[in-house]
Amino acid sequence: MDLLPDEAQQEIIDATATFLDDAMPIGRLREGGRPAARPDDALLRQMGELGWFGLGLPEDLGGIGSSLAEEVLLFREIGRRVGSVQLLATVLATRVAAAGGDPVRAEALVAGAERAGWAEPIGAVSIANRSVEGRFQVFDGRDADCWIAADESGAVLLDPRASRAEEHPCLDEFTDLAHVAFEGAAPLARVGPEDALVERAAVLAASMLSGLAESARDQGAAYARERFQFGKPIGIFQAVKHPCADMAVRCEASWSQTCHAALALRDGREDAAFQVSAAKHLAGEAAQENAAANLQVHGGYGFTTEYDAHLLVKRAHVLRAIAGGSRHHLRRILAAPAQT
């Protein structure tokens, strides 16, 4: 029993962090603006070469053959740097294409030659049959080659050209947002509930939210160490120090539970769905609360776009909306059998 990464997993963390610090630092959003929000074609291919999009995919399906445990380590790092939802969508779309009878697309997605957007169901949708019906909120879908939608009945890849998306400005200006309705469109590929795609999506979203919560904690603590008022660094005052400590506690709960959930799902444990929902809910809370606390520590600067605090506040809401909102997960938590 061990909830911490082993040596090989630590290498994944270190290599990912080093790569992303150079290729996708959070500061890119200040300097590069909206185009920097999503990886360009060259960077996406580089990530493909690093094996990211097939990391948790079995080797016989063209993947690296690692597991969800390795994927959560990767997505925590992506979340820390406010990475695009496309990365999560592309990893999962690869699985759907590979297992759902579209090997050509799977190969392109694994290589980072194609990218996917995320289509979150709005209300009740039908994706279990040969035709897809219902309304979806699509994240980072505009320049994507396909969209992935998932619920407890399975997951599908959707053709963006099969319906007319209505684009909207997003609360998070670094995320593309569109609403779309499908009325009987044929999916490009489809997997059933046995692949637990929606559970995997929730765990990866929880990883990104955990990473985001950690970024907020680290930004807040750094600012509290550097910013002087009344002749002292503000982190000396308990009115600032204690909210920072609470950020650390939320990070510990969020990340520990996300690992707990990833392992439960990987190993097919009976309580996996419960653990996943607990992770998604707590990671969402941690991200939102920490982002708000970090903004508050920054005072007036936190309200400006000259600092990064606002990015975390906004992205937390987007990631919370992915793979089931908090209420959905709280309902599932409540419906689970006794947990002792």
């Binding site: 029993m1 909830l3 911490l4 204690h242 400590a245 709960a253 809910h281 409540l334």
Partner: protein, 389 residues
């Protein structure tokens, strides 16, 4: 990263479960301290006879010498077996004993460790004072060296079980030159010595576990000093974090069981609005769901803390994070319990002790270092924020 236990760990769990099932007292722990003392000691003796005394103590000192994972399994099974609260044996087993193992002389170890393990003596802790709570190092109970003795004058407070204890781990001020952390001495106090006076303090839950202890010219032999005179702060700190998270496993499971009971109660009780059960009330349902998520996260945090402890011999601040999280959780759980019970929530002595447990829950953010002090520790040691002192 792995949640699985090894076959040996599974066998160990079976062994623990069987032993606890056959040996843990079935009758409830008596409510008064005077009656609880013989009960606690008899249960400690039974664990000793069964080879289960001092699960975290090294074997060379008579303990069971369990690995951290085994300790966690022991505490989990202990909670599942509804085995009694350790009560008056807590300080001896979990604090004084480990301190003597780490810093005591051979004579001190030989004199005290076997008696603690065998359930022959009760220890209490004389650290806090009326003027030295969170700021423990400002303690001012004086001890003057006079020949071969320390002569102690002053007062301690919040001393659990002082009225039934044989010995005390006592922090006294032997030197006022230099900083407040210098000049403190850790000494073994005999509670039967002349000049020691104990007065119980009634607490808001009706208990009288807490005491004040007054010292008037109490003569304690210098041979009872653990470590060096004036170096007691480092002795006191040497066993902080000794449990390394494993102690939280029992509490985590106790909280989990209480919450599951509350889920059942909620499905059985009318809702505050009178329509359906309390479980059908959306606000109550969502609060139960949040607590359930937090309780399982508490287990994940405990596993993470133990995993960390397995890799590093140096205690980290994870104990403080666990404590902040758990204390907050306990208070909200107990408050929700009262709301779900409705009118019965105000009736003492009924409804499986929920009202009493609610009152007790207020201690969880205070005892063992307040949540505010824990936040200072996390802020300073985890996040590197500047100390205000």
């Amino acid at each position: 990263m792995d949640l699985d236990v090894t076959p040996e760990e599974r066998r160990f769990r079976d062994e623990v479960r069987t032993w606890l099932h056959e040996n843990a007292p079935k009758e409830p722990r008596p409510p008064t301290e005077a009656e609880a003392r013989p009960f606690d000691l008899a249960w400690q003796r039974a664990q000793f006879d069964g080879g289960w005394a001092g699960v975290s103590w090294p074997k060379e000192y008579g303990g069971r010498g369990l690995s951290l994972i085994q300790q966690m399994i022991w505490h989990e099974e202990y909670a599942h077996a509804d085995a009694p609260y350790i009560g008056s044996c807590f300080v001896g087993i979990n604090h004084a004993g480990p301190t003597l193992i780490t810093r005591g002389s051979d004579e001190q170890k030989a004199c005290h460790l076997p008696r603690i393990l065998a359930g022959e003596v009760v220890w209490c802790q004389g650290f806090s004072e009326p003027g030295a709570g969170s700021d423990l190092a400002s303690l001012s109970t004086r001890a003057e060296i006079d020949g071969d003795d320390l002569v102690v004058n002053g007062q301690k407070i919040w001393t659990s079980f002082a009225d039934v204890a044989d010995y005390q781990e006592l922090l006294v001020r032997t030197n006022t030159d230099g900083g407040k952390h210098v000049g403190i001495t850790w000494v073994i106090g005999d509670m039967t010595l002349p000049g020691v006076e104990v007065r119980p303090i009634r607490t808001m839950d009706g208990g009288a576990e807490f005491c004040e202890v007054f010292y008037t010219d109490v003569r304690i032999p210098l041979a009872n000093v653990v470590g060096e005179v004036d170096d007691g702060w480092s002795v006191a700190m040497s066993t902080l974090g000794f449990e390394r998270g494993t102690a939280f496993t029992a509490r985590q499971i106790a909280v989990a069981r209480s919450l599951e009971k509350l889920m059942t109660i909620a499905k059985d009780r009318p809702s505050p609005s009178g329509v359906g059960t309390a479980f059908d009330d959306d606000e109550i349902a969502m609060r139960l769901a949040r607590l359930r998520a937090e309780v399982t996260a508490m287990r994940a945090m405990t596993l993470a803390a133990i995993s960390r402890a397995c890799r590093s011999p140096v205690p980290g601040p994870e104990g403080s994070m666990l404590k902040i999280f758990l204390a907050d959780l306990e208070v909200r759980l107990r408050r929700l319990g009262l709301e779900i019970l409705g009118p019965d929530g105000l009736v003492m002595g009924t409804a499986a002790d929920w009202p009493n447990a609610y009152l007790r829950s207020h201690a969880s953010k205070i005892g063992g270092g307040t949540s505010e002090i824990q936040r200072n520790i996390v802020g300073e040691r985890v996040l590197g924020l500047p100390k205000h002192r």
